[in-house]
Amino acid sequence: MSAFLRPALKFFLAFFLLYAVLTGISLIPQVGFFCNNLYQQPTEPILKRLLSKAYLQLKTDGTDPDTIWIEYASKKLVMEQMTQAKEGQRSVMVQGINSYVQFYNLFLTFYLFFIALMVLSPLTFWTKMGRMAIGTVIFYGYTVFKVWLQLMSTFNEPEIAIYNTGEFALRIIRSTLSGMTLGVNILVVLVLWIVLVFNKDNWAAFMQKVASIRS
Protein backbone atom coordinates (compact mmCIF):
# COMPACT_ATOMS: atom_id res chain seq x y z
CA MET A 1 0.00 0.00 0.00
CA SER A 2 1.29 3.43 -0.82
CA ALA A 3 2.25 6.27 1.48
CA PHE A 4 -0.95 8.02 0.44
CA LEU A 5 -3.56 5.33 0.97
CA ARG A 6 -2.17 4.10 4.28
CA PRO A 7 -2.70 7.37 6.22
CA ALA A 8 -6.09 7.78 4.55
CA LEU A 9 -7.18 4.33 5.68
CA LYS A 10 -5.73 4.95 9.13
CA PHE A 11 -7.70 8.18 9.34
CA PHE A 12 -10.95 6.47 8.41
CA LEU A 13 -10.41 3.50 10.73
CA ALA A 14 -9.82 5.96 13.56
CA PHE A 15 -12.94 7.78 12.39
CA PHE A 16 -15.06 4.61 12.53
CA LEU A 17 -13.81 3.86 16.01
CA LEU A 18 -14.34 7.39 17.33
CA TYR A 19 -17.72 7.73 15.68
CA ALA A 20 -18.85 4.37 17.08
CA VAL A 21 -17.74 5.41 20.59
CA LEU A 22 -19.45 8.82 20.33
CA THR A 23 -22.62 7.22 18.99
CA GLY A 24 -22.55 4.63 21.77
CA ILE A 25 -22.24 7.37 24.38
CA SER A 26 -24.99 9.43 22.78
CA LEU A 27 -27.36 6.47 23.01
CA ILE A 28 -27.15 6.42 26.82
CA PRO A 29 -30.56 7.93 27.74
CA GLN A 30 -29.14 10.45 30.23
CA VAL A 31 -26.67 11.73 27.64
CA GLY A 32 -29.42 11.85 25.02
CA PHE A 33 -31.72 13.88 27.29
CA PHE A 34 -28.87 16.22 28.21
CA CYS A 35 -28.05 16.91 24.56
CA ASN A 36 -31.72 17.22 23.68
CA ASN A 37 -32.29 19.82 26.43
CA LEU A 38 -29.10 21.64 25.50
CA TYR A 39 -30.34 21.88 21.92
CA GLN A 40 -33.78 23.11 22.96
CA GLN A 41 -32.54 25.95 25.18
CA PRO A 42 -31.38 28.35 22.44
CA THR A 43 -33.72 26.90 19.81
CA GLU A 44 -36.98 27.77 21.54
CA PRO A 45 -36.35 31.54 21.78
CA ILE A 46 -35.00 31.61 18.22
CA LEU A 47 -38.09 29.88 16.84
CA LYS A 48 -40.38 32.07 18.95
CA ARG A 49 -38.74 35.11 17.42
CA LEU A 50 -38.86 33.75 13.89
CA LEU A 51 -42.47 32.56 14.18
CA SER A 52 -43.97 35.43 16.08
CA LYS A 53 -47.59 34.66 15.09
CA ALA A 54 -47.54 31.45 17.08
CA TYR A 55 -47.23 30.50 20.70
CA LEU A 56 -44.81 27.65 20.74
CA GLN A 57 -43.02 25.56 23.26
CA LEU A 58 -40.36 22.88 22.91
CA LYS A 59 -40.23 19.98 25.32
CA THR A 60 -39.30 16.34 25.83
CA ASP A 61 -41.72 13.79 27.22
CA GLY A 62 -39.22 12.25 29.60
CA THR A 63 -39.33 8.83 27.97
CA ASP A 64 -37.61 9.29 24.63
CA PRO A 65 -34.47 11.41 24.23
CA ASP A 66 -34.88 11.25 20.46
CA THR A 67 -38.07 13.30 20.41
CA ILE A 68 -38.51 17.05 20.65
CA TRP A 69 -42.18 17.88 21.03
CA ILE A 70 -43.24 21.21 19.60
CA GLU A 71 -46.50 22.41 21.06
CA TYR A 72 -48.04 25.37 19.27
CA ALA A 73 -51.15 27.48 18.98
CA SER A 74 -52.14 30.52 16.99
CA LYS A 75 -51.63 33.76 18.91
CA LYS A 76 -54.60 35.28 17.13
CA LEU A 77 -56.85 32.38 18.08
CA VAL A 78 -55.67 32.45 21.66
CA MET A 79 -56.33 36.21 21.88
CA GLU A 80 -59.84 35.72 20.47
CA GLN A 81 -60.58 32.97 22.96
CA MET A 82 -59.23 35.09 25.79
CA THR A 83 -61.47 37.99 24.75
CA GLN A 84 -64.45 35.68 24.57
CA ALA A 85 -63.59 34.33 27.98
CA LYS A 86 -63.39 37.85 29.43
CA GLU A 87 -66.69 38.87 27.87
CA GLY A 88 -68.45 35.73 28.98
CA GLN A 89 -66.79 35.71 32.38
CA ARG A 90 -65.90 32.08 31.96
CA SER A 91 -62.71 30.10 31.63
CA VAL A 92 -61.60 28.78 28.26
CA MET A 93 -59.28 25.88 27.61
CA VAL A 94 -56.78 26.71 24.87
CA GLN A 95 -55.81 23.53 23.11
CA GLY A 96 -52.26 23.41 21.71
CA ILE A 97 -51.33 21.22 18.78
CA ASN A 98 -48.37 18.89 19.00
CA SER A 99 -45.84 18.09 16.40
CA TYR A 100 -42.43 16.54 16.85
CA VAL A 101 -38.96 16.27 15.37
CA GLN A 102 -36.51 13.42 15.76
CA PHE A 103 -33.56 14.99 17.49
CA TYR A 104 -30.95 12.39 16.49
CA ASN A 105 -31.87 12.48 12.81
CA LEU A 106 -32.11 16.24 12.87
CA PHE A 107 -28.93 17.09 14.74
CA LEU A 108 -27.04 14.71 17.00
CA THR A 109 -26.11 11.92 14.58
CA PHE A 110 -24.64 14.35 12.08
CA TYR A 111 -23.10 16.60 14.67
CA LEU A 112 -21.18 13.63 16.05
CA PHE A 113 -20.09 12.88 12.50
CA PHE A 114 -18.74 16.42 12.29
CA ILE A 115 -17.04 16.17 15.69
CA ALA A 116 -15.37 12.87 14.77
CA LEU A 117 -14.05 14.35 11.52
CA MET A 118 -12.78 17.48 13.25
CA VAL A 119 -11.12 15.70 16.18
CA LEU A 120 -9.09 13.58 13.76
CA SER A 121 -8.12 16.48 11.51
CA PRO A 122 -4.47 17.55 11.51
CA LEU A 123 -4.87 20.97 13.18
CA THR A 124 -3.40 22.43 16.34
CA PHE A 125 -5.54 22.15 19.47
CA TRP A 126 -6.75 25.75 19.63
CA THR A 127 -7.31 26.02 15.88
CA LYS A 128 -9.32 22.81 16.06
CA MET A 129 -11.40 24.17 18.96
CA GLY A 130 -12.02 27.45 17.16
CA ARG A 131 -13.03 25.78 13.89
CA MET A 132 -15.19 23.29 15.77
CA ALA A 133 -17.02 26.18 17.43
CA ILE A 134 -17.59 27.88 14.06
CA GLY A 135 -18.77 24.60 12.54
CA THR A 136 -21.07 23.97 15.48
CA VAL A 137 -22.75 27.35 15.04
CA ILE A 138 -23.15 26.86 11.28
CA PHE A 139 -24.49 23.31 11.54
CA TYR A 140 -26.78 24.28 14.40
CA GLY A 141 -28.07 27.20 12.29
CA TYR A 142 -28.70 24.81 9.42
CA THR A 143 -30.79 22.49 11.62
CA VAL A 144 -32.78 25.36 13.14
CA PHE A 145 -33.46 26.58 9.61
CA LYS A 146 -34.76 23.10 8.79
CA VAL A 147 -37.10 23.12 11.80
CA TRP A 148 -38.27 26.62 10.86
CA LEU A 149 -39.09 25.41 7.33
CA GLN A 150 -40.97 22.44 8.74
CA LEU A 151 -43.00 24.64 11.08
CA MET A 152 -43.70 27.21 8.38
CA SER A 153 -44.99 24.43 6.18
CA THR A 154 -47.18 23.09 9.00
CA PHE A 155 -48.43 26.54 10.03
CA ASN A 156 -49.62 27.10 6.47
CA GLU A 157 -51.78 23.97 6.45
CA PRO A 158 -55.43 25.07 5.90
CA GLU A 159 -56.64 23.48 9.14
CA ILE A 160 -53.94 25.26 11.18
CA ALA A 161 -53.58 28.51 9.19
CA ILE A 162 -51.39 30.40 11.64
CA TYR A 163 -49.54 31.80 8.63
CA ASN A 164 -50.86 32.54 5.21
CA THR A 165 -47.73 32.64 3.10
CA GLY A 166 -48.02 33.25 -0.64
CA GLU A 167 -48.25 30.23 -2.89
CA PHE A 168 -44.87 30.79 -4.56
CA ALA A 169 -43.01 31.29 -1.27
CA LEU A 170 -44.74 28.27 0.22
CA ARG A 171 -43.73 26.15 -2.75
CA ILE A 172 -40.10 27.24 -2.26
CA ILE A 173 -40.31 26.43 1.46
CA ARG A 174 -41.76 22.98 0.84
CA SER A 175 -39.40 22.07 -1.99
CA THR A 176 -36.39 23.26 0.05
CA LEU A 177 -37.59 21.16 2.97
CA SER A 178 -38.08 18.08 0.83
CA GLY A 179 -34.53 18.52 -0.44
CA MET A 180 -33.03 18.62 3.05
CA THR A 181 -32.78 14.86 3.44
CA LEU A 182 -30.49 12.87 5.72
CA GLY A 183 -28.12 12.55 2.76
CA VAL A 184 -27.99 16.32 2.42
CA ASN A 185 -27.23 16.58 6.16
CA ILE A 186 -24.15 14.43 5.54
CA LEU A 187 -23.19 16.53 2.56
CA VAL A 188 -23.46 19.70 4.65
CA VAL A 189 -21.14 18.20 7.27
CA LEU A 190 -18.63 17.04 4.65
CA VAL A 191 -18.55 20.44 2.96
CA LEU A 192 -18.27 22.19 6.33
CA TRP A 193 -15.36 19.95 7.27
CA ILE A 194 -13.53 20.61 4.01
CA VAL A 195 -14.05 24.38 4.29
CA LEU A 196 -12.94 24.51 7.92
CA VAL A 197 -9.95 22.17 7.74
CA PHE A 198 -8.36 22.72 4.37
CA ASN A 199 -6.67 25.89 3.18
CA LYS A 200 -4.38 26.74 0.28
CA ASP A 201 -1.26 25.39 2.01
CA ASN A 202 -2.43 22.06 3.36
CA TRP A 203 -4.49 21.50 0.22
CA ALA A 204 -1.40 22.10 -1.92
CA ALA A 205 0.59 19.72 0.30
CA PHE A 206 -2.18 17.14 -0.06
CA MET A 207 -2.27 17.46 -3.84
CA GLN A 208 1.54 17.42 -3.98
CA LYS A 209 1.52 14.16 -2.07
CA VAL A 210 -0.89 12.76 -4.63
CA ALA A 211 1.30 14.03 -7.45
CA SER A 212 4.51 12.65 -5.90
CA ILE A 213 3.06 9.14 -6.06
CA ARG A 214 2.63 9.58 -9.80
CA SER A 215 6.31 10.41 -10.35
Binding site: S2, F4, L5, A8, L9, F12, F15, F16, Y19, T23, L27, D66, Y104, N105, T109, F110, F113, S178, G179, T181, L182, G183, V184, N185, I186, L187, L190, V191, I194, V195, F198, N199, K200, W203, A204, M207, V210, A211, I213, R214
Partner: protein, 204 residues
Protein backbone atom coordinates in the same frame (compact mmCIF):
# COMPACT_ATOMS: atom_id res chain seq x y z
CA UNK B 1 3.59 73.14 7.29
CA UNK B 2 -0.03 72.36 7.94
CA UNK B 3 -1.90 71.10 4.92
CA UNK B 4 -4.95 72.92 3.69
CA UNK B 5 -8.13 71.03 3.91
CA UNK B 6 -9.71 70.35 0.55
CA UNK B 7 -13.31 71.29 0.11
CA UNK B 8 -15.60 68.77 -1.46
CA UNK B 9 -17.57 65.72 -0.64
CA UNK B 10 -16.44 63.81 2.43
CA UNK B 11 -14.38 60.71 1.78
CA UNK B 12 -16.35 57.47 1.90
CA UNK B 13 -14.24 56.18 4.80
CA UNK B 14 -15.42 59.04 7.01
CA UNK B 15 -19.06 58.46 6.25
CA UNK B 16 -19.88 56.04 9.00
CA UNK B 17 -18.47 53.37 11.20
CA UNK B 18 -20.65 50.78 9.51
CA UNK B 19 -19.06 51.69 6.16
CA UNK B 20 -15.60 51.00 7.57
CA UNK B 21 -16.60 47.77 9.20
CA UNK B 22 -18.29 46.60 6.02
CA UNK B 23 -15.07 47.27 4.09
CA UNK B 24 -13.01 45.44 6.70
CA UNK B 25 -15.41 42.56 6.58
CA UNK B 26 -15.17 42.46 2.81
CA UNK B 27 -11.35 42.53 3.00
CA UNK B 28 -11.34 39.72 5.55
CA UNK B 29 -13.72 37.67 3.45
CA UNK B 30 -11.55 38.30 0.41
CA UNK B 31 -8.43 37.14 2.30
CA UNK B 32 -10.29 34.08 3.53
CA UNK B 33 -11.34 33.20 -0.02
CA UNK B 34 -7.78 33.76 -1.33
CA UNK B 35 -6.36 31.47 1.37
CA UNK B 36 -8.77 28.73 0.31
CA UNK B 37 -8.95 29.34 -3.41
CA UNK B 38 -8.07 25.80 -4.64
CA UNK B 39 -10.24 24.21 -1.94
CA UNK B 40 -13.21 26.38 -2.88
CA UNK B 41 -12.64 25.58 -6.55
CA UNK B 42 -12.78 21.88 -5.69
CA UNK B 43 -15.86 22.42 -3.55
CA UNK B 44 -17.67 24.36 -6.26
CA UNK B 45 -17.10 21.51 -8.71
CA UNK B 46 -18.16 18.95 -6.12
CA UNK B 47 -21.29 20.85 -5.09
CA UNK B 48 -22.13 21.49 -8.75
CA UNK B 49 -22.05 17.74 -9.46
CA UNK B 50 -24.17 17.02 -6.38
CA UNK B 51 -26.72 19.67 -7.36
CA UNK B 52 -27.02 18.02 -10.80
CA UNK B 53 -27.48 14.68 -9.07
CA UNK B 54 -30.24 16.01 -6.80
CA UNK B 55 -32.01 17.65 -9.75
CA UNK B 56 -32.10 14.21 -11.40
CA UNK B 57 -32.91 12.39 -8.12
CA UNK B 58 -35.97 14.53 -7.46
CA UNK B 59 -37.05 14.76 -11.07
CA UNK B 60 -40.30 13.28 -12.36
CA UNK B 61 -38.24 11.06 -14.68
CA UNK B 62 -36.52 9.32 -11.77
CA UNK B 63 -39.50 9.40 -9.42
CA UNK B 64 -42.07 8.10 -11.91
CA UNK B 65 -40.08 5.71 -14.05
CA UNK B 66 -36.81 4.66 -12.43
CA UNK B 67 -37.19 4.75 -8.66
CA UNK B 68 -39.78 1.97 -8.40
CA UNK B 69 -37.98 -0.59 -10.60
CA UNK B 70 -34.61 0.25 -9.03
CA UNK B 71 -35.88 -0.20 -5.46
CA UNK B 72 -37.70 -3.39 -6.49
CA UNK B 73 -34.49 -4.77 -8.00
CA UNK B 74 -32.56 -3.97 -4.82
CA UNK B 75 -35.27 -5.53 -2.67
CA UNK B 76 -35.31 -8.67 -4.85
CA UNK B 77 -31.53 -9.21 -4.69
CA UNK B 78 -31.42 -8.50 -0.94
CA UNK B 79 -34.30 -10.95 -0.52
CA UNK B 80 -32.28 -13.55 -2.42
CA UNK B 81 -29.40 -13.03 0.04
CA UNK B 82 -31.79 -13.39 2.97
CA UNK B 83 -33.27 -16.59 1.55
CA UNK B 84 -29.74 -17.96 1.16
CA UNK B 85 -29.36 -17.30 4.88
CA UNK B 86 -32.50 -19.33 5.55
CA UNK B 87 -35.01 -16.51 5.97
CA UNK B 88 -38.46 -17.15 4.56
CA UNK B 89 -38.91 -13.67 3.15
CA UNK B 90 -40.92 -12.41 0.18
CA UNK B 91 -40.73 -9.26 -1.92
CA UNK B 92 -43.73 -7.01 -2.44
CA UNK B 93 -42.81 -4.02 -4.57
CA UNK B 94 -40.00 -2.36 -2.64
CA UNK B 95 -40.70 -4.23 0.63
CA UNK B 96 -39.05 -7.33 2.02
CA UNK B 97 -41.46 -9.07 4.35
CA UNK B 98 -41.11 -12.03 6.67
CA UNK B 99 -43.60 -13.40 9.14
CA UNK B 100 -42.36 -11.22 12.02
CA UNK B 101 -40.74 -8.22 10.40
CA UNK B 102 -40.60 -6.26 7.16
CA UNK B 103 -38.52 -3.47 5.70
CA UNK B 104 -39.72 -1.04 3.09
CA UNK B 105 -37.05 0.49 0.87
CA UNK B 106 -37.59 4.18 0.27
CA UNK B 107 -35.85 7.01 -1.45
CA UNK B 108 -32.63 7.28 0.55
CA UNK B 109 -32.22 3.55 1.23
CA UNK B 110 -30.99 3.05 -2.31
CA UNK B 111 -27.44 4.21 -1.55
CA UNK B 112 -27.54 6.59 -4.50
CA UNK B 113 -26.54 9.67 -2.50
CA UNK B 114 -23.32 8.02 -1.32
CA UNK B 115 -22.68 6.80 -4.87
CA UNK B 116 -23.21 10.34 -6.15
CA UNK B 117 -20.64 11.66 -3.65
CA UNK B 118 -18.16 9.05 -4.92
CA UNK B 119 -18.82 9.84 -8.59
CA UNK B 120 -18.63 13.60 -8.00
CA UNK B 121 -15.23 13.18 -6.33
CA UNK B 122 -13.98 11.20 -9.32
CA UNK B 123 -15.41 13.51 -11.96
CA UNK B 124 -13.64 16.59 -10.60
CA UNK B 125 -10.27 14.87 -10.14
CA UNK B 126 -7.88 15.84 -12.94
CA UNK B 127 -7.04 12.50 -14.61
CA UNK B 128 -7.94 10.92 -17.93
CA UNK B 129 -11.49 9.87 -18.78
CA UNK B 130 -10.37 6.23 -19.09
CA UNK B 131 -9.25 6.16 -15.45
CA UNK B 132 -12.40 7.95 -14.32
CA UNK B 133 -14.63 5.48 -16.19
CA UNK B 134 -12.89 2.47 -14.63
CA UNK B 135 -13.08 4.05 -11.18
CA UNK B 136 -16.77 4.83 -11.55
CA UNK B 137 -17.50 1.32 -12.86
CA UNK B 138 -15.74 -0.54 -10.05
CA UNK B 139 -16.71 1.91 -7.32
CA UNK B 140 -20.40 1.99 -8.19
CA UNK B 141 -20.46 -1.82 -8.45
CA UNK B 142 -18.81 -2.14 -5.01
CA UNK B 143 -21.14 0.40 -3.39
CA UNK B 144 -24.23 -1.25 -4.88
CA UNK B 145 -23.13 -4.64 -3.52
CA UNK B 146 -22.42 -3.12 -0.11
CA UNK B 147 -25.84 -1.47 -0.14
CA UNK B 148 -27.52 -4.81 -0.83
CA UNK B 149 -25.64 -6.30 2.13
CA UNK B 150 -26.72 -3.31 4.20
CA UNK B 151 -30.39 -3.84 3.32
CA UNK B 152 -30.22 -7.56 4.13
CA UNK B 153 -28.31 -6.77 7.33
CA UNK B 154 -30.91 -4.19 8.36
CA UNK B 155 -33.66 -6.75 7.94
CA UNK B 156 -31.78 -9.14 10.24
CA UNK B 157 -31.12 -6.38 12.80
CA UNK B 158 -34.80 -5.40 12.75
CA UNK B 159 -35.83 -9.03 13.15
CA UNK B 160 -33.62 -9.79 16.13
CA UNK B 161 -33.19 -6.44 17.93
CA UNK B 162 -35.48 -3.71 19.33
CA UNK B 163 -36.60 -0.82 17.06
CA UNK B 164 -34.13 1.60 18.73
CA UNK B 165 -31.19 -0.59 17.69
CA UNK B 166 -32.62 -0.89 14.19
CA UNK B 167 -32.83 2.92 13.98
CA UNK B 168 -29.17 3.27 14.99
CA UNK B 169 -28.07 0.85 12.29
CA UNK B 170 -30.44 2.46 9.83
CA UNK B 171 -29.22 6.04 10.21
CA UNK B 172 -25.74 5.83 11.71
CA UNK B 173 -24.76 2.63 9.91
CA UNK B 174 -26.76 3.36 6.84
CA UNK B 175 -26.01 6.93 6.12
CA UNK B 176 -22.91 8.02 7.95
CA UNK B 177 -20.76 4.89 7.69
CA UNK B 178 -21.91 4.11 4.15
CA UNK B 179 -21.04 7.65 3.05
CA UNK B 180 -17.64 7.39 4.69
CA UNK B 181 -17.06 4.11 2.82
CA UNK B 182 -17.76 5.94 -0.42
CA UNK B 183 -15.19 8.58 0.59
CA UNK B 184 -12.63 5.84 1.36
CA UNK B 185 -13.31 4.29 -2.03
CA UNK B 186 -12.75 7.68 -3.61
CA UNK B 187 -9.38 7.94 -1.83
CA UNK B 188 -8.51 4.39 -2.93
CA UNK B 189 -9.38 5.27 -6.50
CA UNK B 190 -7.25 8.47 -6.36
CA UNK B 191 -4.38 6.38 -5.07
CA UNK B 192 -4.80 3.89 -7.91
CA UNK B 193 -5.37 6.53 -10.60
CA UNK B 194 -2.28 8.53 -9.71
CA UNK B 195 -0.10 5.41 -9.93
CA UNK B 196 -1.18 4.63 -13.49
CA UNK B 197 1.39 5.51 -16.18
CA UNK B 198 0.42 8.55 -18.23
CA UNK B 199 -0.76 7.76 -21.80
CA UNK B 200 2.20 7.61 -24.25
CA UNK B 201 2.23 9.89 -27.29
CA UNK B 202 4.11 8.68 -30.39
CA UNK B 203 6.74 11.00 -31.83
CA UNK B 204 7.27 11.24 -35.57
Amino acid sequence: MPKKKKKGPPSPTKKSNSGISMRTLFQQASLWVQARHPVLKFLLGFIGCMVLFYIFYYSALYGNHLEGPFLHAQASISNLLLRLLGQGTEVFGSSIAGTDFSVDLKNGCDGLEAIAIFISGILIFPVSFRLKARGIGWGVFTLLILNLLRIAGLYLVGLHFPPAVFEVFHVQGGFVIFTMISVILWFAWMNWATKQPPPTTEKE
